[in-house]
Assembly symmetry: C2
């Protein structure tokens, strides 16, 4: 993780792509979200989705996977350059989580994160609070998923 | 699903329990949230969690699982009584998602939902919008997870 002071506000960072498959869609749905339109093509055809679609919680969990993979890549690069790496603290919570369009098998979802605000913590001087807008965009450019996150990030002088 | 008109505002409904295991914690983390404190007891011991803890996204996805199981039970009872069952529409989004305490293997998380507001949709007369507070509480009574959801529910006279 970059240190609080080094995070560029307003820079939209690409985290990676999720290539959605029917197998992964159904496997997640069986375990966590067993609704017809996430489980079976024929059931899904009868609903407002029209075809098999991924659980919104899978789209959210996949954002996390890509965020962590991105963070690990950035940290590996920093360590390779001999730079210190910042700690990431807990998150005080997320808000405005929206599933704007269905996500279908065959889709390619690209995840982005944009730090929108940086605020030093008054009560916890080791940490700063970063507010970030997170997005999932499909292969035709439609925004399918977004939320606003908050996370504590270690300060350089901590 | 009950019809919009039949949902009792303010009634806290228990959805079920999640018995958290180390195996399920690690399996979810490997797939969606591969951070040390979700993957390995020894890594977790070095962090602010102190021990292996579940991904917040697993706590969220498990809420969904218990919500759907509850809905399916209610619908089965309604059908057994010969009553019509309402459609649940899409969700315009969730907000104020908070992970208030860590969730550890061995914990028993009880999920609740409370409808807090019912508003007929002006633009979509078939539907009403239900706002609901959702909670996860551990075996010692600590609130570990909460968020506010919104969902369209079919109206009885639609």
């Amino acid at each position: 993780m970059k240190f609080f002071e080094d995070i560029a506000i307003g820079e939209r960072v690409e985290l990676g792509h999720w290539h959605v498959t029917a197998e992964a869609t159904v496997a997640f749905a069986r375990r966590y979200d067993p609704q017809g339109f996430h489980l079976e093509e024929t059931e899904a055809a009868k609903t407002h989705f029209g075809r098999l679609s991924a659980s919104g919680w899978q789209t959210a969990a996949m954002w996390m996977k890509h965020m962590i993979a991105h963070r690990d890549r950035v940290q590996a690069e920093m360590r390779a350059r001999g730079e210190p790496v910042a700690d990431m603290g807990p998150s005080p919570g997320f808000t405005d989580m929206r599933w704007l369009k269905p996500v279908f098998p065959g889709d390619r979802i690209t995840y982005f994160t944009t730090a929108t605000e940086a605020r030093p913590s008054q009560s916890r001087p080791r940490w700063g609070l970063i507010r970030h807008l997170n997005e999932g965009v499909n292969q035709t450019g439609d925004l399918v998923f977004s939320f606003i996150g908050n996370v504590f990030v270690e300060r350089r002088d901590a």
